[in-house]
């Protein structure tokens, strides 16, 4: 299969470009936690309880209300290979906990992979909608519709005072976690990022790098999300996050402008050097890949690199992950082999846009 054919079939909707503010916002995600009435949470689940949950959601996705919202398919984790589960993690469709967790986990995928429902993870149900660009409201609308369709057949654990009951009290109430994945190289390069992140944590939001350990954010990619789930409405939570994200976007644009005005040569050198490495290197580890991709994407956004599609950052940051590489090359690869194949895949992808790449 050619790379472009593979991309056509392997990419989720969110990995494609498009959507408001997509030069900075890579994706918007809404996740809602729900549990079934009078049934122990997965924490204390027996086989009988777990199968009961699976049976309940299986009949729920067969209803006309659900089919009206798209084509859904349930996959049990035990029926998938570890590699396939890992691919779903790399595509952000399921969590690492679900992929590596017990025998009771399952995922319900909508055919375009905009919606995925995690079953028997920490909660009975986690409805997740993920879309490209800044589209929190749209993602919430869809998640809420799926929620309503489930509720036609499922009796939810709901408490008059506490709201939707969840296994962990950090999710109780609305059960909503709204998050926005952002590419912020300008704020990192101008040294403003730690100040911004500290400010964000003061207003009830959390930020983390989505790749890399601890405080290191590889590829200058950050995820901003709400911390509290009880006490405010879903609309208030999303509104609060959106307004902070908009401010971050403004600051990022200002930082990029400052870089272009005050440090053009250094910026061009950095961006073009990274492009050269991606286009010619024969070995790439995942850490360097993310850093170079971030530089190149910044170069594309700022008009320094022309003729390469802006989508390569999102496409390649997922496609160059270990499980995806092995899926594409259809063989098991050791880390050293992966570095060689990763470099080859990157060159192949760049060649789709630019014939100069060797």
């Amino acid at each position: 299969m050619s790379l472009s054919d593979f991309l056509q079939t392997a990419m989720s909707q969110w990995m494609k470009n498009g959507g408001p503010e997509d030069d900075i916002v890579l994706s918007s995600r809404i996740r809602v936690a729900r549990n079934i009435h009078d049934t122990p949470f997965p924490t204390l689940q027996t086989d009988t309880h777990a199968n009961y949950v699976i049976d309940q959601v299986t009949s729920a996705i067969a209803t006309p209300e659900m089919q009206h919202l798209g084509t859904f398919e349930l996959l049990r984790c035990v029926e998938m290979s570890p590699l396939d589960r890992q691919v779903l993690v790399e595509k952000h469709l399921i969590s690492r906990d679900l992929a590596e967790g017990g025998k009771h986990g399952a995922v319900i995928l909508r055919s375009d992979e905009v919606a995925s429902i995690l079953v028997n993870e920490e909660d009975h149900l986690r409805i997740q909608c993920i879309m490209p660009g800044l589209r929190l409201n749209e993602a919430w609308t869809l998640a809420s519709q799926i929620d309503d369709a489930f509720e036609m057949t499922l009796a939810y654990a709901f408490h008059e005072q506490y709201g939707y009951l969840t296994a962990c009290p950090t999710n109780v109430g609305t059960g909503i976690r709204a998050s926005v994945m952002m590419h912020l190289p300008g704020l990192v390069l101008t040294g403003q990022i730690s100040r911004m992140l500290a400010a964000i944590s003061q207003v009830g939001l959390t930020v983390r790098g989505i790749y890399g350990e601890g405080s290191e954010a590889l590829g200058n990619i950050f995820q901003v999300s709400n911390q509290m789930t009880l006490g405010e409405t879903e609309e208030e939570i999303i509104g609060n996050l959106s307004s902070v994200v908009s401010q971050l976007i403004d600051h990022e644009r200002n930082a990029r402008r400052a870089l272009a005005e005050e440090n053009r040569e250094a910026l061009e050198d950095r961006v073009c050097r990274s492009f050269g490495i991606l286009a010619y290197a024969r070995r790439m580890d995942s850490k360097e890949t993310l850093q170079r991709l971030s530089d190149v994407r910044l170069g594309i956004d700022m008009g320094i690199i022309k003729g390469v599609s802006a989508g390569i950052l999102k496409e390649l940051m997922v496609m160059t992950q270990p499980a995806f590489l092995q899926k594409y090359y259809r063989q098991e690869l050791h880390p050293a082999e992966r570095d060689i194949r990763r470099a080859a895949l990157i060159r192949e992808r760049l060649r789709m846009d630019d014939t100069e790449v060797r």
Binding site: F41, A155, A157, H159, E160, Q161, Y162, C168, L230
Partner: protein, 169 residues
């Protein structure tokens, strides 16, 4: 002078507090780095569940008179409160009521208050309302019987029967 190597001057000073007991350390830079293992371990151990358990075990205020954590147990799933503080997850939906004396102060700290104001499920939300209504009516029925208002009691009984049928349908 560094306490550890007794060679280089001590430039790193820190106080370790274990269970309220303080001990001072005075090390040179090199020994502090080598000694750093315990800083790293401390950082590793600092995960979310521990953070949550720390909050869970904290008494909210002096004079706070919740039952001791050890005696609390969920009547529905059997999880004890101390089990909850260890794993950071509740056993079943009923745990919220079983542990409410201790959960309320926790929710005030980690959440934006203790009252949900967002979406309400159409069906379960309706049931919650009906169940609450039933509770009130049953109490009224009891007092009507107690005060020998039998006509009123008969009305209440019919209302309760209606609601119960709606619940089961």
């Amino acid at each position: 002078m560094c306490q550890r190597c007794n060679e280089r001057p001590a430039t790193v000073h820190f106080t370790k507090i274990v269970n309220g007991e303080q001990s001072g350390y005075h090390l040179c830079e090199q020994c502090a780095k080598e000694h750093g293992g315990f800083f790293a371990k401390a950082a590793q151990a600092f995960d979310f569940n521990q953070l949550l358990s720390g909050l869970l075990n904290m008494e909210s205020s002096p004079g706070f008179s919740a039952p001791p954590a050890t005696s609390l147990r969920c009547s529905s799933c059997g999880m004890s409160y101390s089990q909850f503080t260890e794993i950071g997850r509740l056993g079943c939906p009923k745990c919220y009521e079983s542990f409410s004396v201790r959960l309320d102060p926790l929710l005030r700290r980690i959440q934006n208050g203790t009252a949900h104001s967002g979406k309400v499920p159409v069906r379960s939300g309706e049931q919650v309302k009906v169940r609450k209504n039933l509770d009130t009516l049953r109490k009224e029925l009891q007092s009507a019987i107690a005060s020998e208002q039998f006509e009123r009691a008969a009305q209440l009984r019919d209302q309760i029967r209606d609601l119960e049928q709606r619940m089961n349908h």
